[in-house]
């Protein structure tokens, strides 16, 4: 999956629609449509997915320059872990 869209540019409008949907989903969950722990964890994962899309498509790294992609992937993994571990250890 990651390879599939890592190699190819997705139309910007489609990327935008996915990002908007993910944002609204995170918002709806936080507004109370799920148990708090589920809602928060899903919101974090959705944020990570959105950032992966921004890296790959908006920033045009999905199909170019492996070293920078790796650096940003590590950043994303670290930030996601900070949020998840921080949330669950509270």
């Amino acid at each position: 999956m990651r390879r599939a869209h890592a190699k190819r540019p997705i139309p910007v409008a489609l990327v935008w629609a996915l990002l908007v949907l993910a944002s609204i989903a995170g918002f709806a969950l936080a507004e109370g449509f799920a148990a708090p722990h589920v809602a928060a964890s899903v919101a974090i994962v959705l944020a990570a997915v959105k950032i992966h899309l921004v890296f790959g498509q908006y920033m045009e790294l999905g199909w170019a320059h492996q070293p920078l992609r790796s650096v940003l992937a590590v950043w994303l993994a670290v930030v996601t872990l900070i949020l998840l571990v921080g949330y669950w250890s509270a």
């Binding site: 540019p9 936080a30 928060a40 950032i51 921004v54 170019a64 920078l68 650096v71 930030v79 509270a90």
Partner: protein, 201 residues
């Protein structure tokens, strides 16, 4: 997908190619690391006093958070399109897209001003508690990035059609400025989730 890729070979940079400018990328990564430390500091604080953070979080208006997210994502989409247009050599269209990105991004400033004003009106300030300290400092620094991004967009739309500049140079700056603008999006994505969406049990 296959058709799209076949139709858009011009969009594909080689795996070794870095879109934009290596120096600007260094700045972006350094800045993102600084924000990662901000996120860590916030989450450590939250873990120490979840009740305070949750009570404070409930004083935020999630609609502002969502609106800000949608504004930045829309502006980011227009900027991404501008970079793709520039890569095709359509610099005039890239310029139009960047002006659109600028206009689409402006309401973020308004929304932020309204949101902060509402907080001040309720007596919530930088020193109210730890949550609001981080809320004002991190969103304030993020806003500064946004304001600089607007200036970058204003300069880039000029660069796009500056015939004195080689097209490769113009593309490099459009992609570099675009990467910066997308960093503003993605840092907000984390801030939105972290400040607004982490509902405690």
């Amino acid at each position: 997908m296959t058709t799209l890729a076949a139709n858009a070979p011009h969009l594909s940079a080689s795996p070794a190619e870095l879109p934009g400018d290596s120096g600007v990328w260094f700045f972006i990564v350094a800045d993102m690391c600084a924000f990662a430390v901000f996120f860590l500091v916030f989450m450590v604080g939250r873990a120490a006093d979840p009740a305070l953070y949750e009570a404070s979080r409930q004083m935020l208006d999630l609609r502002f958070g969502l609106a800000n997210t949608l504004i930045l994502l829309t502006s980011g989409a227009l900027m991404a399109q501008a970079a793709r247009d520039a890569r095709r050599g359509a610099f005039q269209r890239a310029r139009q897209m960047m002006i659109a990105a600028l206009i689409a991004g402006l309401p973020f400033g308004l929304s932020k001003a309204l949101e902060w004003q509402a907080k001040f009106a309720h007596g919530l300030t930088l020193t109210t508690n730890e949550f609001f300290t981080y809320y004002f400092v991190f969103t304030g620094i993020h806003f500064l990035h946004f304001a600089i991004g607007l200036v970058v967009l204003i300069m880039l739309q000029k660069v796009a059609v500056d015939d004195r500049m080689p097209t490769a140079t113009r593309l490099r700056w459009i992609e570099a400025g675009g990467a910066y603008w997308h960093m503003v999006d993605l840092l907000w994505i984390v801030l939105f989730a972290m400040l607004y969406l982490l509902r405690a049990a």
